[in-house]
């Protein structure tokens, strides 16, 4: 490995060091606050490192990794989400029964796994990244191990993730059999130039099953609602944003490398999964009374929308897909931020009835949640609208009428349950008893400030997306040919 390659890997090395730092500080008996601040510092260092090495890109670290614009972009989104999640975790775990310190080791390891996914160009690194992510998540989901919900959710995730890993491996083996290579570029070279490579398509089908599990796409979504509900709120938002971002990034890179769009059979599978996710997610969300379950089903639908941006397989599609993920992550982080702040020591604030009149009780939190839901529903002024607009644009540009029309119709269904929550927020109610003073005023208000910032970011992306889109375009163009 030469110096330039090392430079390009620097952010990821810092990320790996973060979890070691946490282990060491636990060994030396440091406090939760210290770990929190150190973790925050390390994540800032990662960002700094990314800033420093931006000129060294793109750089290939053969045969496993490639650090290019796409990887940098998705890693940036992952680190951004983890920064917010780390902050949310402090209040949440400080007030819970478990010792919160080991939590951060797992959190940073899972982040590393997700980040490795974004830069992998080989099946081996893909698998290592994915397992790093999944294994950390098993423990993270069941972290509050005395709670039945959490253990159930952890078990469910464990079983299904293990199953999906098996599918993944089998798919990889089939593709290897056909092409004789595990490198993405090698696979592309190994494919026959004419005719349909049957084994490759079969392998692709197995791969898509595994990825469908990870992204909670229908019909592989069965774990989503229970895991979302049972996991601690910061972990839930981690699953919803960070883990899915990594998986989507590797899917995008793989599809670009092997020109997946050439194979109608594979694309048909993706279209079916996408349409099914949009319909199933939106329909199942209609009657949910628990906001975490509702967001679980809505995220199934949202990844169905995201696949519409994946289908064209061109630059506009990748750009739309990233922007959509960005908008979606911002939105979910703010929604789960509100849930975390409202949660009590005994249970998470899941039940919708707890949100009645929130806008009048606490205007800021009410507004943040309302804006987040409007953004999920894709109403203008918010980032979600622009994301949906770009996705629709990418789809119509390639005349993918079926998924596009399904997207539009199911959005209307989706609107209904978002409106249901919003109207709950605005309901009149007798003044609630004053909340107890926050136990950790600094972190409480810091979280508060971050939520307002996220709301502002959502408006900014929704009204003046120009700088963001320019950056995304520029970064996506930094790639190895």
């Amino acid at each position: 490995m030469n110096e330039l390659q090392f430079q390009a890997l620097l952010p990821f090395i810092v990320l790996a060091a973060a979890s070691i730092l946490v282990i060491l500080s636990i060994a030396f008996g440091r406090s939760h606050t210290f770990i929190q601040v150190a973790g925050f510092g390390m994540m800032c260092l990662v960002v700094l490192a990314m800033w420093l090495v931006r000129d060294a890109l793109p750089r290939e670290i053969a045969p496993l990794l490639v650090v290019d614009g796409l990887g940098a972009l998705f890693t940036g989104l992952i680190i951004f989400s983890v920064l917010v999640i780390g902050l949310l975790s402090f209040i949440y775990f400080e007030e819970r029964e478990e010792n919160p310190k080991e939590y951060y080791i797992l959190l940073f390891l899972a982040t590393l796994g997700s980040a490795v996914l974004t830069i992998s160009r080989h099946f081996i690194s893909l698998f290592i990244g994915l397992e790093l992510l999944s294994v950390s998540l098993y423990a993270l989901i069941a972290y509050l191990r005395t709670r039945n919900n959490a253990v159930e959710a952890g078990m469910k995730y464990l079983m299904l993730a293990a199953l999906s890993s098996a599918f993944l491996l089998f798919g990889m083996a089939l593709i290897y059999l056909e092409t004789g290579s595990m490198e993405f570029t090698g696979i592309a070279r190994g494919l026959p130039s004419s005719g349909t490579p049957i084994l490759f398509i079969m392998g692709m089908g197995f791969l898509l099953v595994a990825i469908g599990f990870k992204l909670a796409l229908a019909p592989f979504h069965l774990w989503a609602a229970d895991v979302y509900q049972g996991a601690p709120s910061p972990v839930t938002v981690f699953i919803a944003t960070v883990s899915k971002t990594g998986v989507f990034a590797v899917l995008l890179r793989f599809a670009q490398a092997v020109h997946l769009q050439q194979y109608p059979a594979a694309m048909t599978i993706v279209v079916v999964i996408s349409v099914a996710s949009m319909i199933v997610g939106n329909l199942l969300a209609l009657q949910q009374q628990n906001i975490k379950r509702l967001l679980a089903y809505s995220s199934i639908a949202h990844f169905g929308y995201l696949l519409v941006a994946f289908l064209p397989g061109d630059a506009a599609g990748a750009e739309a897909g990233f922007f959509y993920l960005l908008a979606y992550s911002i939105t979910l982080l703010s929604a789960f931020g509100v849930i975390t702040l409202l949660s009590t020591r005994q249970e998470d604030a899941g039940d919708l009835s707890g949100y009645r009149g929130l806008f009048w009780r606490d205007p800021v939190m009410g507004a943040v949640l309302a804006v987040a839901l409007l953004s999920l529903a894709g109403i203008p002024l918010t980032a979600g609208f622009l994301g949906k607009f770009l996705v629709l644009g990418a789809g119509i540009g390639r005349q993918l009428w079926v998924p596009v029309i399904v997207l539009v119709l199911t959005s209307v269904i989706g609107l209904y349950f978002y409106l249901r929550v919003i109207s709950t927020l605005f309901e009149k109610m007798p003044p609630a008893p004053a909340r107890a003073r926050p136990l950790h005023p600094f972190f409480y208000y810091a979280t508060y400030a971050v939520l307002i910032l996220l709301m502002g970011l959502s408006f900014w992306l929704g009204t003046f997306p120009r700088p963001a889109i320019r950056e995304i375009e520029a970064l996506l163009n930094i790639r190895l040919l």
Binding site: L374, I379, P380, V408, S411, V412, S423, R466
Partner: protein
């Protein structure tokens, strides 16, 4: 730039209302009033400027002549001749997608903008006492709805148009949801879902147009004037037009899609009803005139008979249902369905006289229905009911309100002297030569309109008073209108009569736009 100010004033005023209310209650309504009045002054200045003709030459927003562009058949006939556009403002917004911040105003926009601010002023005034809780947030929503509507009337970038189209939805939804009547939740959902479904189909259509234009000309843009120059294959034109029509027909509303309207109108607070009936419905008509007809001349000619049939069905059906209502606000809501049927009939007659009638109908209906909703609101403040059965004999206790209501009822049923008469007369006249049968049916509906208006007057103001057991005659229930209410109704009264006696300025303002439009359809 002045167009940006008009919208910006409303947006900033709205935010200011919300913010001040959190530390000092009672200022919000004054700020709201001030921002609407300031806008009113700007618009009046513009009106004086352009009506008296002292203004500078009209601007030409069309791109420089392009020899290379395959010129579209009839509608690009003479884009550089007399242009109806008065003010044009453009700035970049998201250049990588060809989205610009472009606002342009022609006579039609100016007319509808004036109506927006006029009714906006009255909406602010009529909620002066009605809204007692969360006033800041209320005026925020009201002003943002108005800003969205003003934006819709001005935007000449399709993305921006869609943006404003949606911006007015959420605040309106909140107005109904928070300050509405007992069944507000249901009404608010219904309103939002119907309009959003239509809106999303329009978004698809806009994107399809964007790509078709981009492929043809090589420049991807949402600009109205650029897209106007592109040619469409008949099939594409038909589908894209249906996308646009879906949004506009829901807003207008055309009969099978009118379902949301009675609920939303009757549950909304008074200001909400005024804005809904007076302004929101007009955006549908405006959309058809501004986008559907110029973009798809052939496709809309093909669909014209069906659209007119739908218009006639709306006229008759709305009138019949209005006659059968027992709820005052629902009754007025159904009269809107009927009146907007005339608008649809007039637009698709594709003929200059009828189109002039449509423009006047838009204003006249805005004023007369707005006034009726204001009166219904005043009655509700006094009697706390919308049920016709619990009213009656109000003429004895409130003669002034009764007389004013009589004026607007007469206007609504289309009596000469009022704007509605001119409008309906012109529409029927313009449509008669081609579609005599439809016009005859539509004319019979005028009899129905007399029936429902007179029935309403009879039940509310004349006839026997409701027994005191049902409606206890309290002191507040006996009060005639006060000076604030006099101002509201007086202004509306002057407006509708002026329009009925001297509609020429309105016709002159809209003339250029309409001539340009009907040029496309002359064979």
């Amino acid at each position: 730039m002045i167009l940006v100010w008009i919208i910006g004033l409303l947006l900033c005023g709205g935010i200011l209302c919300w913010l001040t209310d959190t530390w000092k209650a009672g200022y919000a309504k004054w700020i709201a009033l001030a921002s609407v009045v300031a806008d009113g002054l700007i618009i009046s200045a513009l009106l004086v400027h352009f009506v008296t003709g002292t203004g500078p030459q009209a601007v030409s927003p069309y791109p420089a002549p392009q020899v290379t562009t395959p010129s579209a058949e009839p509608h690009a006939a003479s884009p550089h001749a007399a242009t109806p556009w008065l003010i044009d403002y453009r700035n970049t917004w998201i250049p990588s997608f060809g989205i610009s911040l472009r606002l342009s105003m022609d006579g039609l926009s100016l007319i509808l903008l004036s109506l927006t601010i006029f009714l906006g002023l009255l909406a602010v005034l009529s909620s002066w006492k009605e809204i007692s809780e969360r006033t800041g947030f209320f005026y925020f929503n009201l002003l943002w709805t108005l800003a969205g509507i003003a934006g819709v009337f001005l935007a000449t970038d399709l993305f921006l148009f869609y943006f404003f189209w949606e911006v007015m939805l959420v605040p309106m939804y909140l107005l109904i949801l928070i300050w509405g009547d007992s069944n507000r939740r249901y009404a608010a959902y219904k309103f939002f879902l119907f309009t959003q479904a239509g809106g999303l189909l329009m978004l698809l259509a806009i994107l399809a147009l964007y790509f078709i234009h981009g492929r043809q000309s090589g420049t991807y843009t949402f600009d109205y004037f650029a897209i106007l120059q592109s040619t469409l294959s008949p099939t594409a034109a038909r589908w894209i037009m249906l996308g646009f029509l879906a949004a506009f027909a829901v807003k207008l509303p055309v009969v099978p899609l009118h379902n949301w309207l009675p609920d939303a109108h009757s549950e909304a607070p008074t200001a909400g009803s005024i804005v809904l009936a007076g302004l929101l419905l007009k955006t549908g008509a405006y959309g058809i005139i501004r986008f559907v007809l110029p973009f798809f001349p052939q496709a809309s000619t093909a669909i014209a008979p069906w659209a007119m049939l739908a218009g006639v069905i709306s006229i008759v059906y709305g009138a019949l249902l209005a006659f059968a209502q027992t709820d005052l606000k629902r009754l007025i809501a159904y009269t809107s369905v009927s009146h907007m049927g005339f608008v649809l009939l007039g637009i698709f007659a594709m003929q200059e006289t009828a189109m002039q009638g449509v423009v006047i109908q838009l204003i006249a209906h805005g004023i007369s229905t707005g006034a009726l909703f204001a009166i219904a609101g005043m009655i509700k403040e006094r009697l706390h009911t919308r049920e016709l059965a619990r009213m009656g004999g109000l003429q004895t206790s409130m003669p002034a309100m009764g007389n004013l209501a009589m004026v607007f009822a007469m206007a609504s049923l289309g009596l000469p002297l009022f704007g509605n008469f001119i409008a309906e007369f012109l529409i029927l006249l313009g449509a008669f030569p081609q579609y005599a049968t439809l016009v005859v049916i539509a004319s019979t509906a005028l009899v129905f309109s007399a029936l429902y208006c007179l029935r309403m007057m009879m039940r509310v103001f004349f006839g026997p008073a409701a027994p005191p057991t049902i409606t206890p005659p309290t002191a507040s229930a006996q009060q005639d209108i006060d000076s604030r209410e006099w101002i509201i109704l007086g202004l509306l009264c002057v407006g509708i009569v002026l329009l009925g006696l001297y509609p020429q300025p309105v016709m002159d303002l809209a003339k250029e736009t309409i001539q340009q439009l009907t040029l496309n359809f002359r064979i």
